[in-house]
């Protein structure tokens, strides 16, 4: 934990050192041919949750979890001879979590492999924007690695504006090729001497392919909307090997879910500039998948600008979902069921998420530090009607 903290501080000072090298003007006239700093962000979050429906212990037991995440991104740009803007973004993230339920995978150990873990997730992306044609193309790569899970992602994207630049179509194709380590609950492991302290777990694939299409439209000088539709296809091992399911006859099994899942989320976002003091941000999503989860999400956020450079944004988000076909609570499934899970994230519930954000972005820089563009702080409380609740606090520091 100490190492992690020192790493984040180290990266922060490296970023400050890079900024102190100087930053050429980035007005509309100056178009640098050399790679030039555009912006850098540090996003830190602390998340904690609690509840009594852990999937590791078959739908009963503590869901207590904490997660500290830090991500730094750096965006550089240059113009080529044809006046096209090339942007390059590199991001590096570290999450460190502790989980009470993961400690129940093997209660005989003082602390099991997944009791606490650190996830690293670097990514790189490139976009090329042609302002004359109103088009943008891009591509990206990402990695994510933690003790029992690895993920490799790749994406390509395209966007095109209408002639009058009031509308924009964009498309993004993504693929994630993941590996799940097969760490079973201790009582369900076979073979000899496999307490699981070594790193030689078998792995199995989980692949996700995703097509995202969106259309954004300026309605008038104060209102703009975006509709977004995605088709997500997942294939492979979609459950988790350490999720227990207790049958009606008191026998214990590993969660078993179908090897395919098709998800279709559709959303509409509308932002309205009410006045110089108030902006209303709204978002609604309908979701359906072939495990028979149907869901509706509505989020409202009002930005209150006390000055042009200081704003407070209270928000409220309501979420509702139906249960997946394969969900049942502790002790309900039987041997007649082909698929079974007691993961309450797939149960019927609704949730509320509310809180507020604070943002300062003075023209001469935060605390008069010229390149420190903005400082944002955001807190939210999340509550499901099935007893789980969580809190999250996030910080975004932007340099420009």
């Amino acid at each position: 934990m100490k190492k992690l903290f020192l790493s984040v501080i180290g990266m922060y000072f490296t970023m400050l050192a890079a900024l102190s090298q100087g930053n050429p003007k980035t007005d509309s006239v100056y178009k640098p041919r050399k790679l030039t700093f555009e912006e850098a962000n540090l996003v830190s979050s602390y998340y904690r949750q609690d509840g009594n429906n852990s999937a590791v212990t078959g739908g009963i037991g503590s869901e207590k979890l904490t997660d500290l995440s830090n991500a730094i991104d750096l965006k550089l740009y240059r113009y080529d001879k044809r006046d096209r803007k090339h942007s390059f973004t590199g991001e590096f993230g570290i999450d460190h979590y502790t989980s009470a339920s993961s400690d129940k995978i093997d209660p005989h150990t003082i602390s099991s492999a997944s009791h606490s873990d650190t996830r690293f997730y670097p990514s790189l992306s490139w976009t090329m924007e042609n302002a004359k044609k109103g088009s943008t193309i891009g591509a990206g790569l990402s990695l994510s690695t933690e003790f029992d899970y690895g993920s490799f992602g790749a994406n390509v994207n395209f966007a095109k504006k209408t002639k009058d630049k009031s509308g924009e179509f964009s498309a993004k194709l993504q693929a994630y090729l993941d590996r799940v380590s097969l760490i079973y609950p201790i009582e369900l492991r076979t073979g000899t001497g496999t307490r699981g302290e070594d790193d030689d777990y078998a792995t199995t694939p989980r692949n996700t392919f995703n097509l995202d299409l969106s259309w954004s439209q300026i309605i008038n000088q104060r209102l703009q909307v975006m509709i977004d539709g995605e088709v997500v296809y997942q294939h492979g091992y979609l459950g988790l090997p350490f999720h227990r399911v207790y049958f009606a006859d008191n026998t214990v099994h590993v969660e078993n879910l179908p090897s395919e899942r098709l998800k279709i989320p559709m959303s509409i976002r509308a932002n309205y500039f009410i006045s110089d003091k108030f902006i209303l941000r709204t978002w609604y999503r309908y979701y359906h998948d072939d495990w028979n989860i149907n869901s509706n999400t509505l989020q409202l956020e009002t930005v209150v600008k006390f000055t042009p450079f200081f704003s407070v944004s209270p928000f409220y988000r309501f979420y509702q979902q139906t249960a997946a076909d394969h969900f049942a609570p502790y002790g309900i499934h039987t041997a007649a069921d082909t698929y079974y899970t007691s993961n309450y994230d797939l149960s019927k519930f609704n949730s509320s998420f509310f809180g507020a954000g604070f943002r300062i972005a003075p023209p001469d820089g935060v605390f008069k530090i010229q390149h420190w563009n903005s400082l944002e702080l955001r807190y939210g409380h999340y509550k499901k009607n099935i007893g789980m609740n969580s809190d999250i606090i996030s910080l975004n520091v932007k340099f420009k």
Partner: protein
């Protein structure tokens, strides 16, 4: 699909159709100062990054919001 779910499905379609076909006007570049306000951005903000991640893990639904739809475990 249950009937009330179907009715929810048509809400965004209806709202979008009304907005698109009744009130679109061409807005010139010099008239876009309100639309260009940072808070008017139609994408999710960077500070929401972890929120979107935990929601995609703790809820059955995900996507269509700039958040994750794959990659990463959500094991805990």
């Amino acid at each position: 699909m249950k009937p009330y779910i179907k009715s929810f499905f048509y809400i965004p379609v209806f709202i979008t159709a009304v907005l698109f076909f009744s009130s679109c006007t061409t807005v010139k570049e010099y008239q876009k100062n309100k639309l260009n306000d940072t808070e008017m951005s139609l994408s999710s903000r960077k500070i929401e990054k972890t929120e979107l991640s935990f929601q995609s893990y703790r809820e059955g639904a995900s996507g269509a919001n700039g958040g994750k739809t794959g990659g990463g475990c959500g094991c805990n």
